[in-house]
Amino acid sequence: VKNNPSAFESAYWTINSLKVYTSSGSTQNLSPTTPGNVGLGSSTPDGPITENPTRKEKRAAVPAAVVAETSDGNLSVEAGKREIDIPFSSVVEQPAVTKRSIADAGEEMYVKKGKVMRHLRRHQMGGFGHHHS
């Protein structure tokens, strides 16, 4: 991974659209508003970290759950996260590596309000809703 950058030329996502439908009356279309106008998230200050060495690296993150209304009524979705590399003491081929990496990565996206999803309304899912935490 370290010495072979060209091996990762195909390591990219191309996202045509991402939409989240809830029964609360809105279709939240998670797509950037204007091409080239994606606001990238500000860094989240490093804070105390609870390490759990049994966690997968992938999920060892503390997402920042901040949602802000933008002036046009869209919801700003901003990334803020940190990552904890875990000890590899259970792997035998190499001495245990204990590292802690904390980084933030982010990109603002926007949630556009839309329509109720009929399927969910029809079934009257109890307690259905989205959260603004």
Binding site: S6, W13, I15, N16, H130, H131
Partner: protein
């Protein structure tokens, strides 16, 4: 892996938008140092409990030694609010892995969903993941999360149901899900899954992609 911040990602061209199409890259030009290869992890600020997530994806990180891409949802205080892995795999995995992770007391698809192992399955064939997915120009992944079930569908580019990405998608017309996690006596879904953020990331190695054979090249 070294997840960079937003401004760095933009400066290095790791994130970009063209005509509404979002591209998220990992560094593929530099020898990595420090924490490792630069990459991006994108998390929604918004959290969801229930909902229908529809992702129209043209390309995902291709098959490569040590790569671990995922499109997933996860809540605070892992695993107490659950984790839903919609699209995930490592290395040269040939088909998609869909997995739930929870705290104790949740059994679905005849497996204990607790903790790191989780409960899940690999389904969908070569076009559902990695190079096979990309060769077919991707497709649509959809995940419906209700109190009664968590269902995941994959539709190849030429088999996307009408309206699936429109204003009123209707999963009841989509046929059997690729993975169907049914709640009930084995798992009260609402007790174990709530307030999840959406996440895209590409990591390298780690304790899945980095096990045994791959650990020797871990940075």
């Amino acid at each position: 892996v070294n997840y960079v911040d937003g401004s760095t990602a933009q400066q290095e061209g790791l994130t970009s938008v063209n005509n509404g199409v979002v591209t998220i890259r990992s560094d593929s030009t530099n020898i990595a140092s420090g924490r490792g290869r630069n990459s991006v992890r994108l998390t929604s600020h918004k959290q969801y409990t229930h909902g229908l997530v529809v992702l129209d994806l043209e390309h995902m990180p291709g098959s490569a030694c040590g790569v671990w891409p995922a499109f997933w949802m996860t809540g605070p205080s892992w695993p107490n609010n659950g984790e839903i892995d919609i699209l995930e795999g490592v290395n040269y995995q040939s088909t998609n892995a869909m997995t739930l992770h929870s705290n104790s007391g949740c059994t679905m698809v005849n497996k204990n969903c607790q903790g790191n192992q989780g409960c899940g399955m690999q389904q969908g064939g070569p076009a559902s993941f990695g190079d096979g997915f990309n060769a077919a120009n991707g497709g649509v992944y959809a995940m419906e999360w209700t109190s009664t079930a968590i269902n995941i569908w994959f539709f190849g580019r030429n088999n996307i149901p009408a309206g699936a990405t429109g204003a009123n998608p209707d999963p009841s017309t989509w046929g059997s899900a690729l993975a169907s996690f049914q709640g009930g006596s084995g798992c009260n879904i609402d007790d174990h899954f709530k307030n999840n953020n959406l996440v895209f990331d590409t990591t390298f190695c780690g304790d899945w992609a980095g096990t045994s054979v791959f650990i020797s090249i871990y940075i």
